[in-house]
Amino acid sequence: MDLSILLGAWVAAGLTLFIFSFLYKDNFFFKLGEHLYIGVSVGYSITLLIFKFMRPKWFTPLFGEHQWILLIPTLLGILILTRFIPRLSWPSRLTFAFIFGFGAGLTIPRSISGYILQQIQGTVIPMITKEGTQISYTFRDFSNLLVFIGVLTVLIYFFFSVEHKGAINILSRIGILFLMISFGASFGYTAMARMSLLFGRCYDLTLFSSKRYYYATPILLCLIILCFLIHHVLSKKHSV
């Protein structure tokens, strides 16, 4: 087997076990894995930023193709760095104003068309089935009615400009029931997504336990347990 694949398996198994060791308690191995995670992910982001964004969008067009118009975003970018000097930080406001103006301008039409209109379009749909002159009521129509009631009552629950009394209170209570089901469903969905990740990591650990990878998982696991035992014995001796 290629040495880099073998080394990769050992490193991946080791780092996985380091993080899983937190289930026992907060310890040296977990902290090592945690800080490595921060360092590697920051380093990875910096590299991607340089090679996938800054080089093709800024460095090459500005210095290679002399697109001098790019001096404007360069200047705006440099102005952000004035934040390092609190007394002279006001020019960074110009950049923030540009970013926020751009973001706010984009948000308004996209929220209207992408959220409000599309969501209303999906809610206000036929609640009875009509085929020719025959009118029927199917389970799908019942579901459409439930969606309509759900959206309306949830909106009423979030409408705080009127006091929640009488009919409004009843409707907002129905809205709460819909919200509770939604929160429960979201919880279940998230929990299962995490479980799926957990199965993935367990699958890798099992894979690296094989002879093909020179029993990486059991050996590393034994070493970690041994370290815990030694630490436990030494700390007991110290306390005595």
Binding site: V11, A12, L15, I19, L23, L32, H35, L36, Y37, G39, V40, S41, G43, Y44, I46, T47, L48, L49, I50, F51, M54, W58, I72, T74, G77, F84, L94, F96, A97, F98, F100, G101, F102, G103, A104, G105, R110, S111, S113, Y115, Q119, I120, L146, V147, G150, V151, T153, L155, F158, G175, F183, G184, A185, F187, G188, Y189, A191, M192, R194, D204
Partner: protein, 224 residues
Amino acid sequence: MLFLKRYLPLVICGFTGVVFGIQYYVPHKASEDLLTFINDWMIIIFGFSMILALASLFHVHYQKIRRRQSGWGFSLIVFIAIIVTVIIGIISQGETVDEKGLTSFGWIYTNMLVPLSGTMFSILAFFIASAAFRAFRARTLDAFLLLFAAIIIMFGRVPAGEYLWSKIWGAEFPLQMGDITEWIMGVLNMAARRGILLGVALGAIATSLKIIFGIERAYLGEKE
């Protein structure tokens, strides 16, 4: 000076806000090109803002090392990991794969970043389960509905749930576990989410208008 410090940012914000609010409704190539062009500007500005974020991160960890605070060795590991990853990334030209296969940078991604991030998020499964065990008590109707929906969705998303359901009711039963899960997600859950999304969209529009008209100035570091 007051104009530069206070009014010019508001003018820039209002102008860009109005221009890009209108841009969406102008179905012309020049309008689309303008959006793409300014999007590239945003990437450049974001690149510079990363310097600010990195400086903040380096400052925190440098102070820990300098003062020899507890766990300063881990801060050193953060520095080493960043530097090594960036150097290897530069050598690999930011590519994870080349004609020979995985690059050194790709090796770091596959064997370090993926296992670390996967495991870090997967241990949340244990904490979610333990928190749910302690918090989920069906004392009221609201709590019962939350618990019920969570259990149905969790069972419906694993083969074991389907298997148990078919064992109890039989494989020919017209209503299967997957159908119930889909109905809860697609009808009851969607209705509530739609209500929330509509509220969020209205809130986003209101906030955007306040920013464009200079009523909301928190981004300038002002309270009013």
